[in-house]
Amino acid sequence: MDRKKFIKSVGLAAAGVFAAPYILPTGRLFAASGARKVNHVVFLLYAGGVRNLESVHMVDGNLMPNLLSGNAAISNDIVNSIDPLPPSVLGQPLQNFGTLFKEFRYKEGPTGHYNGHTVALTGNYVDVDLNIKESPRKPTIFEYYRKHNSPQQTALNSWWVANTLGPYPALNYSSDVNYGAKYGANFMAPTSLISPAGFDVLGNPRNFTSNELGAMYNIRDFSDQTFRKSFVDGSAGVTNTDNEANLLQQFISQSYADAQSGLYNDPWSAGSSMNNDMYNVFFAEKIIQQFKPELLVVNMQDVDVAHFNFSSYANNLRKADYAAAHLWSVIQATPGMANDTVLIIAPEHGRNLNTNTSIDGNGRLALDHTAPVDLITGDQTAREIFCMVLGPPSVVKQGQVINTLYGESIEIAPMIANLLGFDTNIPGGKLKPYNLCEMGAAFI
C-alpha cells in the first residue's frame, strides 16, 4: 500500500470511528459513538415479585391507580386492609406518559429475588448456581455505563439504591476481571444507613479544618507511597474521587441532620402508611435532587409479604404504586432531569398462579414465586410480569399499551445502554443486541 492509499484508508476508518460530536437539545455535548436519546435513566425494580393478575389484569380491582388507568373497585374482602394514602401527585396515570408492556417475561432461570435483580442489572439470565454471597459474574449495567460511556463518568453519576441489605449490596459491580469495582456504581441502602443506629455511630464525626486536613493528607499520602499497596485495589468497593467523596460525606451529614430535625418523620404526609419501600424511593429522590445521576436503579420489595399475607401484598402493591408516581413527579421537578429522563418500571419476577397454604385475616391464601427452571413443568406464572417505559414524548411513545407477549427482562440493560448512547461500545455477545430487543417498540 502506498502512502497516499494508507492515509486515505486510515482517514476513512477514523471517520467511521470518530463521528462528529453533536449537541443535544439540552445543550450537552457528547462524543458520538451512539446517539443518546436522553441523558438520564432511572430504573425502578417494582416491587418484590408482582403477579400480573393483581397488577395489569386487575383481578382484585385497580390496586395501582397511579400507574394504570381504570376505576375498577378493589375487592370487598380486602379493601379494608388497604391503608389510606395521600391523593395522587400526578394529574393522570403514569401509563399515559409512556408505553406499557402488559405481557413482559422473565423467561429463564430461577424466579428468586436475587436472581431477578441480577438478571435485570446484568442483562443476562442466571442459573441455579448463582452465589448470593458474591457479586454477579457478568458485568452490571453500571459497569458497562462507566466503562463504555463516552466521556467516561465517575461513580457519582451511577447509583444503586437498595431497600435492604442481605446480598443486594453486591449488585453494584461484578467479579468480571475486565470490569469490577473500578466501574461500579455508588451503592446505598438508605434505610440502614440513615437510621437511628446509623446516626449513633456515624452521625457525629470530628470536623477537621482545611489546614488540618492538609496536614493529614501529607501523612497519609506519604504512608501510602511507602506501603505501595492500595486498599482500593482490593475489597474497598467502589471508589470516589476525593472531591466527590467530600460531596458524599456532606450528603450523609445533611441526611442525618434532616433526620434529626424531624424532616424525615413523615415526608410524604402518608402518616403510618409510609413503608420501607416508600422511604427507599424517598431517599432515591434525595440522590436525584442532589446529584442528578445519569443512571440510577432503585428497588422496592415490600410486596414480598405475599409469601404469608395476600392482603398485605395488595396493600404494599398500592404503596409501591404511589411511590412510583412520587418518583416520577420528583424527576419532572428536578432541573436537569425533567424532560430528559426515561423511567423504566418492572418487577424482577412475578408470583405463582397456585397459592401456598398461608391464609390471612381476610381468608386469602398467600403466594410464592417458584417457577420450575425447566420452563415446562409446574406453575410458570412467576415468569409473567409487566414493564412500563416513561419518558419525553419526543423519545417514548405516549399512551401506548402492548397487550401481546412482548419483551423480556434481559432487554432492560441493553435498552438503558441504548438510551444513554453507549450500547455500540459494549463488546458483542455480552448483551442482547438492541435491534433484537422488543422493548424497542416503546421508542419513537
Binding site: A155, W160, L165, P169, N172, G184, A185, N186, F187, M188, A189, P190, S192, L193, A197, G198, D200, V201, L202, G203, N204, P205, R206, F208, T209, N211, E212, G214, A215, M216, Y217, N218, I219, R220, F222, S223, D224, T226, F227, K229, S230, F231, V232, G234, S235, A236, G237, V238, T239, N240, A245, L248, Q249, I252
Partner: protein, 149 residues
Amino acid sequence: MISTLLSCSKEKDVIYDVNAVNVDDNSIDKSRSKTTSEFISIAYADLFGTTISQSDLLKLNTVYTAFGDKKLIEDRIIKNFLNNSNVNVPVAYDVDTSAFVNAAYKKFYNRSANAFELYYVKEQIRLNANLQPIVLYYGLMTSDEYRYY
C-alpha cells in the same frame, strides 16, 4: 559408619563480631486485608483501649455494608471515633517526638518506623502546627497500611 563419624565431630565455637540488634518486625510487606469486623474492632481498641461492645459492632457492621465506598465509610467511622469524648488520643506531643512517632507506628502499623519515616513525620510535626496528634492518628488510621496486617 560415616554418619557415626559426622555425628561425633566436635562443634566449633564461632564468635561473630556484630552488635546486638532489635529484632522487631519492621516489615511493611503486609498482604492480608483486615475484614470489616477486624478493622472496626482493632480501630476501636487502638483508640479507646478496650473492646468494642457487640451492639456497637453490629451497628457499625450494618452501616459499613449499607454504603458502597468502603474508604469513605471507614473515614467516617474513624472521624466519629476521634470525636468521642472517651477517645484516648494525646493532646500534645511528648518532648521526645521520635518516641511518640515510633509508638504511633507500633500502635497502628504494628512495627517501628524506619529511619526515613521517622525523619519525615518528625519534620512534618516540626514544620506544621496543624499536625496535632489527633491529626496524625487520623492520617495513619485512614492509610492503606492500616487496612492490612
